[in-house]
């Protein structure tokens, strides 16, 4: 993870699991002793946004940047000007948790001047269990469309294929196989294979050290 570029942009299809990945990524970086800022740029979703977990993340020493106007019921595309802090202040490890689909990626346009080649990573989160991202063609179309709107290039694929708490090792492997095909087609590397902590031992060795175990911070105990 410390080999990833200082600015990490997390994009993907709507509902692919970008926020859960971003939150886990921020926690892991923070546990490595880094100074981390997580910017929630989601103007598409109004529920299940990373800013809802600001309190527990801030307790871990992570700076969380959400809307410019506070309020859990805020239905405005108002992003805080503070997003510029971790982009400009190089002492920060920055994670930008972006809204889903090309529509969600539109917020990135404003930060275009900070996305210089070789100075950022943009990870495409792939969930092969979402109906719209089940084939190589579909995934490639999303990558191209989001890149166009974001005016930045995807630099890696995150296989985040899951069915929430009922995810099996087969789900992860099906996603891995799709990610491999996408990788062959596009030349993009598979950066991480995300799985529940409890599944790590069930995954084959072929995934190597790319396995990225996560906790489900965004799901309440009564949720599936």
């Amino acid at each position: 993870m410390d080999k990833d570029k200082r600015i990490r942009i997390i994009i993907g299809h709507y509902g692919s699991g970008k926020t859960e990945f971003s939150v886990n990524y921020a926690v892991k970086l923070s546990q490595m002793g880094k100074k981390v800022a997580l910017a929630d740029l989601d103007v598409v979703n109004l529920y299940f946004r990373s800013r809802e977990k600001a309190e527990i993340l801030e307790d871990m020493g992570i700076k969380v940047i959400g809307g410019a106007i506070k309020g859990s019921g805020m239905d405005l595309p108002a992003i805080s000007g503070e997003v510029l802090t971790p982009l400009q202040d190089k002492s920060y490890q920055a994670i930008l948790d972006v809204g889903g689909n090309p529509q969600g990626a539109r917020t990135l346009g404003r930060y275009h001047s900070y996305f210089k080649d070789g100075e950022y990573d943009m990870f495409f989160v792939l969930n092969a269990n979402r109906p719209e991202t089940q084939t190589v063609d579909q995934v490639e179309e999303y990558i191209v469309k989001i890149q166009d709107v974001a005016r930045a290039k995807v630099t890696g694929i995150i296989n985040n294929t899951h069915l929430l708490k009922s995810t099996s090792a087969e789900d992860v492997m099906r996603g891995y196989n799709l990610a491999k095909e996408v990788s062959t087609r596009t030349g993009l590397p598979i950066k991480y294979n995300v799985c529940l902590e409890t599944l790590v031992d069930e995954l084959p060795e072929e995934l190597g050290d790319n396995v990225f175990p996560i906790k489900l911070y965004m799901r309440e105990e009564w949720m599936l």
Partner: protein, 353 residues
Amino acid sequence: MTKVLMKGNEAVGAAAIAAGCHYFFGYPITPQSEVPEYMSRELPKVGGAYVQAESEVAAINMVYGAAGSGARVMTSSSSPGIALKQEGISYCAGAELPCVIVDMMRGGPGLGTIQPAQGDYFLATRGGGNGDYRLIVLAPADVQELVDLVMEGFDLADLYRTPVMILGDGMIGQMMEPVEFRYQPRTDLPDKDWATRGKGKGKQRNVINSLYLQAEELEKHNHKLQAKYAKIRENEKKVEEYNVEGADLVITAYGTTSRIAKTAITKLEKEGYKVGMIRPISLYPFPNEAFEKIGENCKGVLTVEMSTGQMIDDVKISLQGRIPTYFHGRSGGMVPEPEEIVEKVKEILGGDR
């Protein structure tokens, strides 16, 4: 079929299309806007039509027109938008038009908030519109059940020639869960020989109308509607029961709240409490028999809602004063925690186990 991961609102759209609904008229409002978004993208692919109406009032009247021509048709909204649709819903009920109306409830009254709530129980089950009518009201507790009830809702609407409301909340609409689509249409659906689709030269035309110029005729029509509702009460009650027999206390809740209550019950069982649960799935017709079966030794029935107390009225009517009733509610978009329910149960039953 393998499971896919879908957001509740998208799953509503996919379920409707799978059930043969090719027409959707609506207007965006958080937290259900993904329904019209999904329909606008997917309906053209199946040769259907999506219209974003100029308002909710227009949308429900477009539903009236499409349903009158015999098509399967849906609209969806969230609380304030559903309030606007009431006039048209009453017209649909009066003209006996089958349609499915989805309400992903949010906090109220008024514009309220975009967060989840269950404050539309009265609106849905008592009729928010004018006149003596009822809707079939179905309340899913998870995204799979949402899919199943949307599909079944279209069948029930056609079977009884009546509007069906799917009463979810923002949480169900916004939540992602694994789903599969297994629609088996009923085989006993009547032909829509009443629809205005053209009958040929010389034949008596069909008329879709809710206006009556003779009081006697309207009263007769009301009796016909009431007979239909009686049949619905006889045949279409749906309920999930859990350990009701011998329970010291029964919790009753519907939709999202029932899942939180279930988690609370699991915690209470570990501490030795005998707590049962009644989860109404059909809110109209209300499954009153499930409450009539509760034994005399039960110390209370606790209703939990994301409102200040609406379904509890039906619980009291069903219990007819036999057993004490208690209430725990959150409102304004606040979602209860399992711990709150655990505490409330302990307060009622006493701490010693």
